[in-house]
Assembly symmetry: C2
Homo-oligomer: 385 residues x 2
């Protein structure tokens, strides 16, 4: 039975106007959706492309209300949102996808882990620690990772103790501790799930750690793993998203242990840095797929048509002030190099300013070129050190 869709197909609200919103907006437009972005910064990276931006804090009840009221469905590009307000808005009949109750679980790394564990998803052994000190951590046993239950992001809120627990490095906040995994490699699987339970996942990707300190970490797609490992990564990632009853795109970070086991590390309830490569290398990219899922359109085919490698473009370690991009022309001269700049007018040390995806016939070519680009491009500041 054919269903008729109006124009706009949907009015889509996005909480957060950063680079993820910036990449969602054009895909939403292409599918006939009009977007409103909420972000505290006027002319935010996503806001300048969106149909309109509301300027407001992400924990401002009135701003969030204005966003959901202007939208048929509201989604997120950042998960650290006040879920109490969102639960109230949802209870009043507004569509918020993924659901605020899922967000509340995922925001708390302990609740997230307990939920996954209860569903039989393999994770590293863990334990709650309400008031962490060196003694409690030592009792759990080394090596371990301590994670703050809330507020961690991009490596913040995490402490690793391998041989000894140093009291000064213990995070003084409610936490979980988990066994440090001696992994062979870090993987990520992007999973999309529709409202009706339809699931699609892209091939597992590998986070390549580069020993040379001057080169950023690199993402490789597909990962250098065998077919059985790829299948297991797919199975575990999909099961994790199903355990959360998630709708939308989810970034599932995984460990592949030296024993060949796949463990879930963490789940991001949104489009994810580890899925940017899908724009250039897949039939359906993560941003389009997320829009399809949250708006209620059928999911697309995640088929990968080219090998890919991705590097982030971070602000140089001494960068401040306006943006000065070095090596852009050199990078663009290389075949298969796609540069994404996020439209941030100010640079700070290690701030995510953009990324580069390289597509090629094979993974090794893509990786070598991505490394070369990463060495040639620098985002410096006009104010210097």
């Amino acid at each position: 039975v054919s269903r008729s869709r109006p124009y706009p197909v949907a009015r889509l609200g996005i909480v957060g106007g950063g680079q993820l919103a910036r990449m969602i907006v054009p895909e939403a437009a292409r599918l006939g959706c009009e977007t409103t972005v909420l972000d505290p910064t006027p002319e935010s990276p996503g806001g300048v492309l969106a149909h309109r931006q509301l300027v407001g804090a992400l924990d401002d009840a009135e701003a969030l209300r204005a966003l959901v009221e202007a939208s048929d469905v509201t989604t997120f590009e950042i998960e650290t949102v006040d879920t109490a307000i969102l639960l109230e808005l949802e209870a009043q009949g507004h569509r918020i996808v993924p659901s605020p109750s899922l967000l509340a679980v995922v925001q708390d790394k302990l609740l997230q882990k307990e939920k996954l564990h209860a569903a039989g998803i393999p994770t590293s052994p863990f334990q709650a620690v309400d008031a962490p000190d060196a003694r409690t951590l030592a009792d759990f046993g080394l090596p371990l990772v301590q994670k703050a239950r809330r507020g961690g992001y991009d490596g913040r809120g995490v402490a690793v103790f391998k041989d000894v627990v140093v009291e000064e490095r213990v995070l003084p906040v409610p936490s979980l501790v988990e066994r440090f995994v001696d992994y062979r490699c870090e993987l990520a699987v992007l999973v999309a799930r529709g409202g009706g339970g339809e699931v699609r996942a892209w091939p597992a990707v590998e986070m390549v750690f580069d020993e040379r300190a001057n080169v950023l970490d690199l993402l490789l797609a597909p990962a250098r793993i065998d077919a059985r490992e790829a299948e297991e990564a797919h199975r575990v990632a999909v099961a994790a998203v199903e355990a959360l009853d998630g709708v939308g795109v989810f970034g599932v970070e995984l460990f592949l242990t030296r024993g060949g086991e796949v463990l879930v590390n963490e789940i991001a309830p949104r489009v994810h840095n580890s899925g940017h490569w899908t724009i250039e290398a897949c039939r359906t990219n993560q941003f389009e797929q997320h829009v399809r899922a949250v708006v209620g359109l059928p999911l697309g085919e995640p088929l990968q048509h080219s090998a890919a490698a991705m590097v982030n473009l971070l602000g140089a370690e001494d960068a401040h002030g306006g943006v000065a991009i070095e090596g852009l022309d050199e990078a663009l001269r290389q075949p298969g190099v796609a540069v994404h700049l996020y439209g941030k007018r100010e640079v700070r040390p290690f701030r995510k300013m953009g990324h580069v995806t390289v597509t090629a016939e094979d993974r090794e070519t893509a990786m070598a070129l991505a490394r070369a680009v990463s060495e040639c491009v620098a985002i410096r500041g006009t104010e210097g050190a």
Copy 2:
């Protein structure tokens, strides 16, 4: 020598805010450019995504001046602009690419053809006719095509006379007449040329005419031609753009005659409907390439990684009022189907409302699926017939 680029890399002005601007804007943003669109309709398809839209007519001197003054470089998504104003603005030091003098030549189909002919580019034999009547046309000989020198678009301003010249169908405007070409197929080659003369072209595509009246015309990439014909199409298209000293992306429409000769039909001095498929099927798409060319960045690799077929989504023949899209969900359920809706809130009979590109392993699969999608999707109006 490494050159440092600021953010924004460039402020890009676009004359016209239709679907072509809508597809240029996100590519420009990705490359670090901020866009301003000029269009008479507020919230135009391109204007809603652009950083800002100026509302004004495309022949309004003050509006054009405001656009070029807000921009480091100004380009076009439509070629029917007042070139006198643009020539004046260019003389005052504003960068306008491609140049207004090129636009002035291309706008006049006779001047365009004379320029190509003078450069040795193969075209159908032609002749200027200042005051056309049946007698003058008959003297030129049949079969012929009469083309108005100015203002033709999407088939308007063209009259074909095969066996007899019917006086009432003669266009009463300054024209050229040219020998009707009994072609084997219609081809198009998209050519990009940078300011330094660097040239890249995508593989030739084929316009497939479908005898079944209910199916729209279809574009196939690459064209079903042999290697020698493809090489000749490439050579002729590149030579044509070089003859015009064009900078930017150009759509070169070609005839492949039954004798295997390649003739230039017409040139569009802008991104073109026949290049939409490059978004999903090529390393660098026409919109990104156009931005690179006009802003002065190195050109990208036009390599095609997937076979593709494209159909336009036109308003149904009795469609009026608001938009009702039938078959969207069915289309999106198919593998490799990318739907592009242009954000037009009102439908009219045969108005271009969007397009669909299908990518697949091979051309025949893509073509079959594009035909199926074209039969299943209909853009109707809420006001009916």
